[in-house]
């Protein structure tokens, strides 16, 4: 396989993207999970789909848009959707989770309209739904690299603020933290990472890489830093072994990656049950 990776650019792109996403999705995912915002990732991935459909539609109908990378439009929609979710959470203060189904169904609705306007697409759209890591281009790779570096740096610099906001929002506000701005930066990062990871596992599975490694690590980790560390390790194991397995056995890479993270999760639960105990 190493030889094949060295020879084929598409395989290089696939593995590089996988490594990046395996790092950044669980890294941000830890904050998403502990803030109980896991479903937001799902809602935003469906909005991203609408953006991709819009981009493909423009490409089909207008010559000037040919060659436009659908990833960019997906990002624009994802960020827009995240802002809209925040707005809705403000409007429905007592039903904050309502924002999620509203955005989720809105995203799909919009996507379906765009698809029908274009009289359907070729296999392209299918690859966005379930991921097609082998279709990642060099341009995609650079974009994903830029997002990964940006997100990693922001999390590093704002670590203690993000921690405080996640652990105890009321205390964060009472201690004079600019909670709104921090949350805003956070949600933009979520939107960008979702748009970036959909190439690897597809829109329908995007939230899995942000939640499954974290769910496994929360079971066994001591403390927050260890939770982050283990989540990233689990994420990388899933992506790398998933891609390799898919390559050898000719399976769908996105699905293989997700199933491996499910196995890791089950393993973590079993280890916890048999191994060390907590006072609880």
């Amino acid at each position: 396989m190493i030889e094949a990776i060295l020879r084929y650019e598409f395989l290089q792109n696939a593995f590089m993207t996988g490594i990046l996403i395996g790092l950044v999705a669980p890294l941000l995912g830890v904050f998403i999970v502990v803030r109980r915002l896991s479903l937001i990732a799902d809602a935003l991935s469906h909005v991203t789909l609408a953006g991709i459909a819009a981009s493909l539609l423009l490409e089909k109908k207008f010559l000037m848009f040919s060659g436009l990378n659908p990833l960019y439009m997906g990002m624009v929609f994802s960020v827009g959707g995240s802002l809209f979710i925040e707005k809705l959470r403000g409007v429905y203060k007592h039903y904050q989770e309502l924002a999620i189904p509203i955005i989720l169904s809105g995203g799909i609705g919009l996507g379906v309209i765009f698809i029908s306007l274009a009289d359907g697409f070729n296999t392209d759209l299918f690859s966005y739904l379930f991921g097609s890591v082998t279709a990642v281009s060099r341009a995609d790779l650079w974009t994903i690299l830029a997002i990964t570096i940006t997100v990693a740096i922001v999390i590093f610099l704002l670590y203690k603020e993000l921690f405080l906001l996640s652990f105890d929002e009321e205390y964060a506000k009472a201690s004079g933290l600019a909670a709104k701005s921090i949350h805003f930066i956070f949600i933009i990062m979520v939107a960008l990472v979702i748009a970036a990871s959909m190439r690897v596992v597809g829109i329908l599975l995007v939230s899995s890489l942000m939640t499954l490694p974290v769910a496994a690590s929360i079971r066994i980790a001591k403390g927050f830093k260890q939770t982050i560390f283990l989540s990233v390790i689990f994420g990388e194991i899933s992506v790398l072994s998933g891609l390799s397995l898919a390559y050898y056995m000719d399976l769908a890479p996105g699905g293989t990656i997700v199933i491996i993270s499910v196995f890791i999760l089950i393993l973590a639960i079993l280890i916890k049950k048999s191994g060390f105990r907590k006072i609880a």
């Binding site: 009321e170 009472a174 690590s217």
Partner: protein
Amino acid sequence: MAGKPVIEIKGLSYRYERETVLDNITLTVPENAFLGVVGPNGSGKSTLMKLILGLLKPQHGEIYLFGQEIRRFKNWEKVGYVSQKANSFNTGFPATVFEVVSSGLTKKMGLFKFLKKEDKNKVSKALESVGMLEFSFKNIGELSGGQQQRVFIARALVSDPELLILDEPTVGVDAHNVNSFYQMLGDLNKNRGITLLMVTHDIGTVSDKVTHVACLNKTLHFHGNTEEFEQLERNGLSEIYGHEVHLLDHHHEHEHGGVTR
């Protein structure tokens, strides 16, 4: 004992939509005081807390913290806050006690700063002062309610606050731990000179620790030091304060009663 005021509230009113929850409150908390705020449910105690913490904006009247109008107040690291445990945190949160207490330094350290050795020493010291140092590397969810509350006190203490605000801190703490908890608060007040403001249901248990008492039920019914309060109790507090207050004898060595709800 009575120094310059730490909190000064003048003619403060607050309403949620149509319902008035605080009506024309005027209250001064001097330096080194330990003020117990009592009142029935819905008396506006929590709203008063939130206003003092800057979580809500005053609609009428003024609040001064350390002599500065609250809207212009910036030194929030001088104010420590311990909430009702049940309200504000997720017990499954994967953080160690040490990490939780470190987060109390977030504002004081400022943006883009990292925990240095001296900061870590401060965290250990704060944990030691509440008797929780040996639990530093346990996950917060593994502790009992009373232990968790001590950790939150440590989080508030780590930034060396001059004022500590506690909102019913003993909710969810086992009865037999409540006394040692109050003992610790009394020590903080006496030995470290921290001004304390505590909203509580059981003033009876703390009556030998607090220096001042305020009775709140939308308006301020009484505000003064503990001796005046006991005087008032003997003269029939329930008349002014409403029916929800019961005078209660408790099994303390001193024989005066306390007010509880």
